[in-house]
Amino acid sequence: MYSRRQLLQSVSAGFGYLAFAGITAAEEQAIANPLAPKAPHFPARAKRVIFLCMQGGPSHVDTFDYKPQLTKDHGKRGKYGGSLLKSPWAFRQRGESGLWISDLFPEVAGQADELTLIRSMQCDQPVHPGAMTQMHTGTAQFIRPSLGAWTLYGLGTENDSLPGFVSLSPPSGSSRNYGSSFLPAIYGGAKIGRGGRAARFARSPIGESVPDIKNSKLSKAQQRKQLNYIQSLNKEKLRRERHQPGVEGVIESYELAFRMQDAMPELMDTSNETQQTLALYGADGGSTENFGKQCLLARRFVEAGVRFVEVTHGNWDQHVNLSTDHQARAEACDKPIAGLLQDLKQRDMLKDTLVIWGGEFGRTPAAQGGDGRNHNNKGYTTWMAGGGVKGGFSYGATDEHGYEAVEDKCHIHDWHATILHLLGLDHEQLTYRYAGRDFRLTDVHGDVMTDILA
């Protein structure tokens, strides 16, 4: 048989184990909720995260990494072949800080003094699926918990009626990027809307905000009675079979679902937002409407206490038609992102909300077919704002054309370590024991970029 400690180790930290550990209902209430807020390792600069995931690889040399030498050497042969392509967009110095940002992001540029640009990003994967997965989980080789799941595991969440980790409109087939892997299922990201369509739920006036969110037959009290019965059956099963992460997952999913029935419709209903707010996000129409609504939803989620919200804006993969399609992608998200930053600021939430912007990699300084760029994973730019990072700050640098990070390199492991640090978590201490080994988000790597801390 097992000791209690062994059980805790082998049977995950979910509350399912309580079913056979003989703990009373009252005790269960007090300690069982795996989503209950937990103290960080040290005082946190950021309490929550909004991750704006730019899937497809936006070009750093056309957005946030100013390369005058690339302009000068336009048409010359690049160091890995192909001819160098100057950016079709002009760069300007912005704000008091004078950060160089291109005309692709004029609205975000207006918030330059809030941003820390990390211009020396690196990851190990030159292809989309691998790089996306590494950006989210630290490795592309194995299925591992995602950044959001680790965060939730480390900190719990402020609102137990909502999932603590929400992924709005993730690309289809990408669930490992917001999954919990071996962490208890409750820490996995809840997908809201599929394939860029979270906004569809927010739009529909007579439809449901979330599918099957309301029972047509039973009152709340009746349904709770029914749910207690379902859970007693589930706990019976767990008692019989001991190690069953799947059953624990089912038990947890019902409790959350029951509470979500009240919380979600209210949260998804944006009708009480003012016209002014909608306009701030560009959520009132035009090409910014979809992403604007999602950014607005992201703010509503974090405001309600959700710990980690990811919003995806896809199709940045411009091997061809860079000048028109990068323009269109940027236009659809520039105003919404700037609106989000301003709105957080005016609600006094930016100071402890970490906003992260970035794609899985950048793009080559050399041209592909005259009006396109290839993948570039050895040097690219992401940025952070709010939540304990400096404003109007630039960190690291790529070489003169923008191929490789050469100064203060920030590998994706360093990036993860820094994000956890800002949340008050030590990436070396945040471990989870699985199959006899302690796992970390950063494996055996990762250095915190102390220079960017405010």
Binding site: P211, Q222, E252, V320
Partner: protein, 900 residues
């Protein structure tokens, strides 16, 4: 034996709308043609166009470059600049006459020059400008390839291995068990004991037919099991293999792998109304236990295989739907790009599905890890480019009409047999004549609109009008196209047909269509060919490819499929990366066992049923799922199979089980699918066809429903307004104020609106359908909720292994979804019919749902629930509501969802 290819080819040509290969002129130009080009065309191009559109100037506005023949044909982001012989499609001409584009900007060329261009394009656009061809040399040497072929496990021919000796010799039932036990013993682990009879039966039933066993089957099996477990299992397996539900279960596994769907997906999601024929073909093939190698060959080259009857011919054509039903970006402007992408998708699917090899990575560069040079990709591309893919709608006698959103048209293949759907449209002669007239009028109208736009210069209106008329033309033509001269429906399928003269493909530098390098001779990936395969210069090589993949000598085909079968029976593959048997994939946990299964598959005449039978009757198949701390520490992923993997049922089994347990299931195969009924149309917002029409229809339905309910309310009561459903105090006892009525009226309207809106916007969920889940409509990105919520395979991706999650979304579905509630009520009615005593009802409900009576803990939990819940329901409906809630709880519980 008859070869019907050539006659068929003529038929196919008549209906072919788009041929992907650019039919440009050969290289032999007459001196007159060269002279015409040099005198009339080249100077104008240099003077007027190159400044913004050439490599020389370094400008490629709109992605367009005009300084070589190839680049001119490829065109820019709006499409081909010149399509030889086709003025309509040649955007260069369109631009110089200032139709949709205006070039040169601000100025029109002289009529004389315009006429020159017209003549040039009409004569086939002879163009002597040759592009310098680069030669890309591979970084992968012949030695690299040879060494990979000789050393990497998956490329070596599987040999029947000796069974290893084991200590615990009484445990194995067959050779499979020897391999399993030997590995466990080597790690000092031991297999779990045998599971209980009902659990083994549950596994067998779900694994073989995707359905739970009935109480009668459980009783029967237990008796047999007590006599002799081996015989009991063998008997049940043989019976299950004979059922039609076997093909529905195993066919669906295959449909996951081949990314089966009934629409194109992507931004402009057009239906594939004939894809269901392939679905039925797959199900029938598994039921007939068609030798797997033949099944493989038919899907890759069914159109080229000899046949003995029209029925067989039709079956083979339907099989090639495999190549045609991939996701497509039909609003791709560039036809060359589109053709390259379609072929790429076909190569990717063929190699990953059958061979577990990722060849498509080599489209842009050498695939270093697996020793697949880029030239091998283009050798294979040559095989696939020599065919036309049919996935759209046939053109009518008036031609094909593309629309603003749907740029890439395609036709269909006319089946050699008559097999119309009962729901297909039929037209009388008068209706036909009217349709034709309407089409002619619309064409005339379209011409008029164009003329007016040119004269008035109102671009906005012109564009709007043109989009509108194009849509009308396309719709009318589509209606005409699918019937014969007498207005009777024709029978079509999707698929592929060879083009006439096979040609090799050019290597494209970094996979870019405008960066052609050397021509690569057609062939197959060298690393996978132990002996080189010769392709007849007069043939595309696709038939040879099919035969090579489906051959006993191919090292991968049998391994890949045996691994899939193992995964579906045991819960995890021997190679867990089921589509990647390459160097970057996962190594096999039991390499010898995999070889054994592969050899068995081939030697049985490629019988899937025999392989399933062998695994089902093994010892390892029947062990318990009991947890063991020590074993878990050593092997947390259960790779060595020390216990049975507890598995969550897949989406289809969850839905089908509810239908079986409620007694509502309809085992008849529905004809076609919802998508077939809707025909060729765009899917938007979850609606087949125009969402506006659907909304209008919904409003009408809702209106009718409200009117009806109002009539019911106001009938009977001699003018008294009675609240809906009656009040507790009965009608007439309480006077009803005006405000209340209005509120009630509003609520009636709102509820009806919601219900109807749900039915329309959730049309593809088919909540009222009672047939098996495999027949639900599969529209890309709009998969039915009942499937999607339980990790259904992404229909746009090749999926050998589904995910298995437990989410709050699933909990909401089980708690609140109308289908689940409906089925719970039917389940409760069935239980109530069986017995009037609550105790017996509970017992029966558990047996139906779990395959066993309740445990004592479950019994007391149930009693507590009934006592607590019934008063809250006010004992309505004689306890029916309570029983429904109880039955729903059983559906919702973890025990129902897991097979242990």
């Amino acid at each position: 034996m008859t070869f019907r290819r050539s006659t068929f080819y003529q038929v196919a040509l008549i209906f072919s709308a788009a041929i992907f290969t650019v039919s440009s002129r050969g290289d032999q130009l007459t001196p007159d043609e060269v002279k015409f080009f040099e005198a009339k065309i080249r100077p104008v191009l240099i003077r007027e166009c190159y400044g913004c559109h050439s490599n020389k100037s370094g400008n490629a506005r709109g992605g367009l470059r005009l300084d070589t023949k190839e680049l001119t044909h490829i065109g820019g982001s709006s499409g081909a600049a010149v399509v030889p012989g086709d003025l309509e499609e040649s955007l260069l001409y369109n631009a110089i006459v200032h139709e949709d584009f205006v070039m040169p900007p601000k100025r029109k060329l002289s009529q004389e020059v315009i006429d020159d261009f017209r003549r040039w394009i009409e004569m086939g656009a002879p163009d002597p400008r040759v592009t310098e061809i680069a030669e890309i040399r591979s970084s992968i040497t012949d030695e690299d390839i040879g060494s990979a072929r000789e050393n990497f496990w998956a490329y070596k021919h599987p040999v029947d291995p000796q069974s290893p000796s084991v200590e615990h010799s009484a445990w194995p039932k067959g050779k499979i068990d020897h391999f399993i036990l030997a590995k466990l013993e080597a790690s000092s682990l031991e297999p779990a004991g045998d599971a209980e009879a009902y659990k083994v039966l549950r596994r067998l039933c779900f694994d073989l037919v995707g359905l739970p066993p009935t109480p009668e089957q459980i009783d029967y099996f237990r008796k047999k099991w007590d006599e002799d477990p081996d015989q009991a299992i063998a008997l049940v397996v043989d019976r299950l293999l004979e059922k039609d539900q076997f093909g529905e279960r195993w066919g669906r596994h295959w449909l996951d792998v081949v990314r089966y769907a009934e629409s194109t997906g992507r931004e402009v999601n057009m239906t594939y109304p004939h894809a269901w024929r392939y679905r039925d073909y797959v199900i029938d093939s598994f039921n007939d236990d068609k030798p797997f190698n033949e099944f493989v060959q038919e899907q890759i080259a069914g159109d080229l295989m000899p046949v003995e009857s029209d029925e067989e011919w039709a079956e083979h054509l339907v099989a090639t739907t495999f190549l045609a039903m991939g996701p497509k970006n039909v609003n791709e402007q560039n036809r060359v790009q589109f053709a390259a992408d379609v072929a790429d998708e076909q190569i990717d699917a063929t190699t990953r599905v059958f061979l577990g090899a990722s060849v498509a990575c080599a489209r842009c560069h050498d695939h270093k890890f697996d020793a697949i040079p880029q030239t091998d990709y283009y050798a294979l591309a040559g095989v696939f480019r020599n065919m036309t893919t049919y996935f759209g709608n046939p053109p009518s006698e008036f031609g094909a009409f593309s629309t603003a959103q749907r740029k890439r048209d395609s036709s269909l293949i006319l089946l050699p047999i008559d097999d119309p759907n009962p729901f297909d449209k039929r037209y009388s002669q008068t209706e036909l004549a009217n349709l034709r007239q309407e089409l002619i009028d619309t064409q005339r109208n379209a011409a008029e609109v164009r003329r007016q736009a040119r004269e008035s210069g109102n671009q906005q209106d012109a564009i709007r009008n043109r989009i509108r008329t194009a849509n009308q033309l396309s719709e009318l033509s589509g209606k005409l196209a699918v019937v014969d001269q007498n207005g009777n429906p024709r029978s079509y399928c999707m698929g592929v047909q060879e083009t006439s003269a096979p040609a090799n493909a050019k290597l494209l530098v970094r996979g870019e269509i405008d960066q052609a390098a050397q021509v690569v001779e057609r062939g197959f990936p060298q690393v996978l060919c132990s002996t080189p395969v010769k392709i007849d210069p007069d043939k595309s090589g696709r038939l040879e490819l099919a035969r090579w993949i489906g051959s006993d000598q191919n090292p991968l085909t049998a391994r890949v499929m045996a691994n899939r079968v193992w995964q579906h029976m045991i819960g995890a593959g021997i190679v867990t990366s089921t589509e990647n048997f390459g160097v970057t994939g996962q190594a096999p946990s039991h390499p010898q066992l995999l070889d054994y299964l592969a050899v068995r598959l081939v030697n049985s005449g490629w019988s899937i049923k025999r392989l399933v039978r062998e695994i089902a009757t093994s010892r390892v198949y029947r062990i318990k799922s009991t947890f063991n701390e020590r074993h878990h520490e050593y092997d947390p992923d259960n790779a060595l199979i020390w216990r049975a993997n507890p598995r969550r049922l897949d989406a289809e089994s969850i839905r089908d089980s509810m239908l079986v347990i409620s007694g509502e299931i309809d085992f008849d195969r529905p004809r076609g699918s919802e998508v077939a009924k809707a025909g060729y149309t765009r899917v938007q917002g979850g609606v087949l066809g125009n969402p506006r029409d659907a909304a209008k229809k919904a409003m009408e339905m809702a209106g009718e429903k409200v009117r009806q309910q109002m009539r019911e309310r106001f009938a009977g009561g001699r003018g008294t307004r009675r609240p809906i459903g009656g009040s507790r105090f009965g009608p007439g006892r309480r006077s009803v104020g005006r405000g209340q009525v209005d509120r009630q009226t509003r609520s009636v309207i709102e509820t009806s609106m919601r219900e109807v809106a749900r039915k329309v916007t959730n049309q593809l969920d088919m909540e009222d359908a009672k047939f098996r889940s495999v027949y639900l409509p599969i529209v890309r990105d709009e998969e039915p909720r009942s499937l999607e919520v339980f990790d259904f395979a992404d229909a746009s991706a090749i999926t050998g292994t589904r995910e298995s999650s437990n989410t709050a979304n699933q909990a909401l579905y089980m708690m609140n979804n109308p289908f689940v509630i409906q089925q719970s009520q039917a389940f409760a009615r069935r239980v109530a019919r069986d017995s009037a005593r609550v105790k017996d009802q509970v017992e029966y409900a558990f047996i139906l749902a779990y395959g066993r009576p309740p445990t004592s803990g479950e019994r007391s939990a149930t009693a507590a629930f009934v006592h607590g819940f019934a008063p809250s329901m006010g004992y309505r409906n004689g306890g029916g509501e309570v029983l429904s809630a109880l039955c729903q709880s059983l559906f919702a519980s973890a025990e129902f969802r897991f097979v242990d």
